[in-house]
């Protein structure tokens, strides 16, 4: 089957635009050097994601998506960044993060990952009512970029943000999958996992004072 890119209605295009913005912010996360900036970018990514969910909820009237949007705004864009900032303050480490590899190789790796995701998604014949191939490719890319960040960041807060942005990839896939069962439950559960990890970060910070948690 020849690769086919659908140019849909304006509503679809806005959804794509928001999805693309989430992916772009994943790239922006990759080369951040300060914890505080990283947290801000993450909060921005979560807000765009919430906007995407709200927009899709408006287009295909679905209460579930409104709930997801609410959960994303309140939990991921506000509560978790606040907790992260507090943990970072306790650690007194707003100084530069040295990722294991430099910014340029990191971005090159990131582009490679997105290419891989697009290639993996290309043969898929997506059901008519499901997400388009592009939306799926965006979600897979966001998940894999988060995993990359988790793998190469040395700083504990950087790793947590990598983990959190992976979760955003899941939400991105889930909001464009119509009729996914248990969506709100799964989103709540994944938010719970995220909060446990963020709490663990602040406990760690408390346990070893101003020192660095080794990991």
């Amino acid at each position: 089957m020849a690769p086919h890119f659908a140019y849909g209605t304006l509503a679809d295009e806005i959804a794509h635009l928001l999805g693309g913005a989430v992916l772009t912010l994943s790239f922006v996360l990759l080369y951040q050097r300060r914890v505080r900036m990283m947290i801000n970018v993450y909060a921005l990514q979560a807000s765009v994601l919430g906007l995407d969910a709200a927009w899709q909820g408006l287009m295909r009237p679905a209460v579930t998506l409104w709930l997801i949007a609410l959960l994303t705004f309140a939990g991921k864009a506000m509560a978790i960044p606040t907790l992260l900032r507090r943990a970072a303050q306790r650690r007194a480490a707003d100084h530069a993060i040295e990722p294991a590899i430099g910014a340029v190789p990191m971005l090159v790796l990131g582009v490679g990952i997105v290419t891989l995701a697009a290639a993996a998604v290309m043969p898929i014949g997506v059901p008519a009512e499901g997400p388009t191939r592009e939306e799926l490719a965006l979600a897979v890319s966001v998940v894999l970029l988060g995993a990359l960040m988790l793998a190469v960041q040395d700083h504990p807060a950087g790793r947590v943000i990598g983990f959190l942005s992976m979760e955003n990839g899941f939400i991105l896939a889930a909001i464009s999958t119509p009729g996914m069962p248990l969506l709100v439950w799964l989103a709540c559960a994944s938010l719970a996992l995220a909060s446990v990890i963020v709490f663990a970060l602040s406990w760690q910070a408390e346990a070893d004072g101003a020192g660095q948690a080794q990991c």
Binding site: G130, A147, E167, M180, P181, L186, A189, I197, A200, C215
Partner: protein
């Protein structure tokens, strides 16, 4: 509504109810007894749930393998709670757990309940939520202030998110055949309709789910969390429950294998599973020789045995699946025995887990030393213990189905077997220092020998009904 309640529902409800009671219990001593009683009740109900096999009562799906693992998980949790009851108080090293006597035990009940829910749930989404609860409860038992729990959370959390993403893709792959809604993630609907899914989408979902749940099954490359979890676990119950998570994840992997294999459109799943299993076994075979810390040593061996079971599931077919399920079962029993001995053995020298801390164990506490040595023999898959027959079965089936892989499998198994005997040297050295610690209670060793006896009987002469039961499990998945 109440009429529809089955043992399968109750077996999940009891641990959660016990957790609620335990949260309100003040003194640690009372909490230990309540917890042990709840484990017994759960085990009895798990036996009762065997009567529901093949049914799908409200939101649950009692698959033969799930029912089998329910009994197994409840059994080892129960015996281990007896052993630690006889061994004395377990301490939770994290202030919020230590201040409230029952909190740590409540978390363990919660973990057991979540594991049983993951086994019996009909919906893949519920399965994921249950696995997540089990992981979080397991990490909280370690205490959040530790570096180890942090590492466990990151790696296991990474696996969980990958599995979650895979679950969303699975729902998307099935949505054309089963329609949107609950059915598109329901195991009992997914398996029969396997022929109608979108192939490439199922491949992508399988890739994410395999890596995700493979992490929970402690398969290479994301296996390191198990080392940290076992190095810091406060008591044997925590470790045994942590090991049961591996079995649940292996069951999910087997289920996914059947699903993908049954769908004609997707790529064959077997080689990926075999590769992960074999890599885990080889890693254990190489790494065990360098370990001098009993906790790490046993954790690495668990990774290896999990790899053997995964490999067997990857080989495919009823015989290999029979071997894999048998291996999982016998390993769970052996592992429980081993930790039930290892915990008091390490406590003798104030918790030191290096082999040096265990020298002269056979001389200073003969009962405990012999039990530990027997459990190590069993773990090394040496005859007459049962793990030998399951490993043998797997090797024979590999010769038949994938002859080229027999060599690495054999090398891995032999490397692991000999490495596992190494600590015996340390134990049998005559005690040079004056060891006058208190000896372990005889009662604490009863569960150890009970489990080893089961492993022995299943290795030497498996009774007819048991063979029929394992065959039924294997043919329902193979």
């Amino acid at each position: 509504m109440l009429r529809e309640l089955t043992c399968a529902h109750l077996v999940i409800a009891v641990p959660f109810a016990a957790a609620t009671v335990l949260l309100l219990t003040g003194p640690a001593r009372t909490a230990r007894w309540i917890s042990a009683l709840a484990f017994v009740l759960t085990f009895l109900l798990a036996l009762g749930a065997l009567g529901d096999v093949g049914e799908a009562p409200g939101l649950l799906f009692v698959h033969p393998l799930a029912a089998h693992l329910t009994v197994l998980t409840a059994f080892v949790a129960m015996t281990t709670s007896w052993a630690s009851l006889a061994n004395g108080r377990s301490t939770f090293d994290w202030a919020p757990l230590d201040q409230r006597g029952g909190a740590g035990y409540a978390l363990q009940q919660c973990q057991l309940g979540a594991l049983l829910l993951a086994l019996l749930a009909d919906n893949a989404g519920v399965t994921w939520i249950a696995m997540e609860i089990a992981t979080i409860a397991g990490v909280l038992v370690l205490g959040l202030a530790r570096i180890a729990s942090w590492k466990v959370l990151l790696i296991a959390g990474l696996g969980l998110v990958l599995a979650l993403f895979g679950t969303a893709l699975l729902s998307l792959a099935a949505v054309t055949a089963l329609g949107p809604g609950f059915a598109s993630l329901s195991w009992s609907h997914l398996l029969p309709a396997a022929g109608h899914y979108s192939g490439p989408l199922l491949d992508l979902a399988f890739a994410f789910l395999l890596i995700g749940y493979g992490t929970t099954a402690a398969l290479v490359p994301l296996h390191t969390w198990l080392l940290d979890a076992e190095a810091e676990a406060p008591d044997a119950v925590a470790i045994v429950l942590g090991g049961s998570i591996l079995n649940v994840a292996l069951m999910i992997i087997l289920r996914l294998r059947s699903l993908v294999a049954a769908s004609g459109a997707a790529a064959e799943p077997n080689s990926a599973i075999m590769t992960l299993g074999l890599l885990s076994l080889m890693m254990a075979g190489v790494s065990l020789w360098r370990r001098r810390d009993l906790r790490h040593f046993l954790a690495v061996s668990t990774i290896g045995q999990s790899g053997v079971a995964a490999f067997a599931f990857g080989v495919g077919g009823p015989v290999a699946t029979f071997g894999g399920v048998l291996h999982m079962t016998l390993h769970a029993l052996t592992r429980a025995s081993l930790w039930q001995c290892a915990m008091p053995a390490m406590a003798r020298k104030g918790g030191g887990s290096n082999f040096i801390d265990l020298t002269g164990l056979l001389g200073s506490d003969r009962r405990l030393g012999i039990a530990l040595a027997a459990a190590l023999f069993s773990l090394a898959a040496l005859p007459p213990f049962g793990l030998f027959s399951s490993a043998f079965l797997i090797v024979v089936e590999t010769v038949r189905r994938a002859p080229l892989l027999t060599l690495p499998l054999g090398v891995g198994l032999v490397l692991v077997a000999f490495a596992l005997l190494a600590p015996l040297q340390a134990f049998s050295v005559r005690a040079a220092r004056g060891d006058s610690e208190r000896r372990v209670e005889l009662a604490a060793l009863i569960p150890v020998w009970l489990q080893l006896a089961v492993v022995l009987v299943l290795g030497l002469a498996m009774p007819g009904p048991v063979v029929a039961w394992f065959k039924a499990i294997a043919s329902s998945n193979g």
